[in-house]
Amino acid sequence: MPLPDTKVSTRPETLPRFTRAETWVHRLTAALVAVLFASGAVLYDEQLALLVGRRLVVEGVHVVAGLLLPVPVLVGLWLSPQLRADVGTLGRFLPVDRDWLRRRDRRKAKLPVGKFNAGQKLASAVIVGAGLVLFGTGLLLLAPARIDLPVALRQGATITHDLFTFGLLILLAGHLWLALRHPEAREALRSGRIDRRYAEREHAAWAKQMRADYER
């Protein structure tokens, strides 16, 4: 009986996508963000505040989680060359990324998308930018009342922290929605490996490159 095409059968079913450092950076950052949203909601909303009480504890949790927020990313950048390389890839827009953004049939057009598509690149940049704004305004809000910050600065920091939180909330809702619709991507963040067929469909150029590397 003829064996199936050996070339196909030796092709791995999954491709390495993220290192352990990267999956852990994502996990820890996600946990901190969840704590920040939960504690922030209690500090913000009257009904939740009444339900939970313990304002000083909630406030402390929010502040500590906020101060810790950059730590996983910074440690990851220090430890993981691949995370540094991926950050570089995320920051650079190629002609295919413009194409991907413009076309309505972007998912069917077989575009040579790299490791990250333009949506992922934009979203990651927005998350970093908004995160920095929230971190900075959070530090301003931490200044005790006795420190004479101009009142306009305090008020500005308060409203900016609120507005950017709402903006980020919308973005992260979209992030979770897409994660729900792409179980292969979720699996990649769990195990570090992505389904090959999915990668060939969604990240064709990257999958091709990975195959070339593999066969070399």
Binding site: L50, R92, S124, V133, A152, R154, T158
Partner: protein, 239 residues
């Protein structure tokens, strides 16, 4: 690997987006007072026709709910009592009905917290602190009034002259509604011309005395005379 030599057609969009957001954040901080006022006005107008209470979620709508203890205390109005004690002719224990028998007064003012947030045009209703003190009869030579919260921890104080001002009230109504638990109800103090920490929430006792006691935040260095814009090293517009 894929992360090799930079592609000449690559554009640093990521960096531009990050820097753009930082700029937007800085602009929002700079325009904060105007944005807050605008949103506060919108939220205020909406909340008058908003049975869902969702308008309270609009950012900048204002109130933050502070408590220095672990929970928000609550006495139902039916069992609430306000004690008037100290150097008075007759000590009182006032129910909410007793308070309502005193001459009612209304006041609309911005509420300014010393940490920076401000709620515009808050409508309060209650009785003058001076009338409550008069009902108990202040003995001669008394210079100060102390306030105790039924949260068990918070205290505040005013000089007798401050306590007699017409914009210092014992209030039970906020924006047309009975004052809720988070706002310090059913009855709280309102010292309209001063920072919010003077307006003792969950008021349980008014004590007349011949010396000024140190309030809760004053222990931590806040000013006793907490005039908005003229104390605590701050320059807010007066309420």
């Amino acid at each position: 690997m894929t992360a090799g030599q930079p592609d000449p057609s690559a554009r640093p969009v990521g960096r531009r987006v990050v820097l753009g957001l930082l700029g937007l954040g800085a602009a929002t901080v700079a325009a904060g007072p105007w944005i807050s006022r605008g949103l506060g006005t919108v939220a205020g107008a909406l909340s008058e026709h908003d049975p869902t209470g969702l308008s309270a979620l609009i950012p900048g709508a204002g109130w933050r709910y502070y408590t220095v203890t672990n929970s928000f205390p609550w006495r139902p109005p039916s069992s609430y009592r306000l004690a008037v004690t100290g150097n008075v002719d007759r000590e009182l224990s006032l129910t909410t009905t007793d308070l309502r028998r005193l001459p009612r007064t209304r006041l609309t003012a911005d509420f300014q917290c010393v940490t920076g947030w401000r709620v515009p045009n808050v409508r309060w209703e209650g009785v003058r602190l001076g009338d409550v003190l008069a009902a108990a009869g202040v003995e001669s030579g008394q210079t100060a009034v102390e306030f105790v919260s039924y949260d068990g921890t918070y205290t505040e104080s005013l000089t007798m002259a401050q306590a007699q001002r017409h914009d210092v009230l014992v209030v039970d109504t906020l924006d047309g509604k009975p004052i809720g638990r988070a706002h310090g109800g059913p009855v709280r103090l309102l010292v309209a011309p001063m920072y919010g920490y003077k307006s003792c929430k969950w008021l349980s006792e008014i004590r007349v005395s011949d010396h000024l006691a140190t309030g809760y935040w004053e222990q931590f260095g806040y000013d006793q005379n907490a005039w908005v814009g003229r104390s605590n090293g701050r320059r807010d517009a007066p309420t």
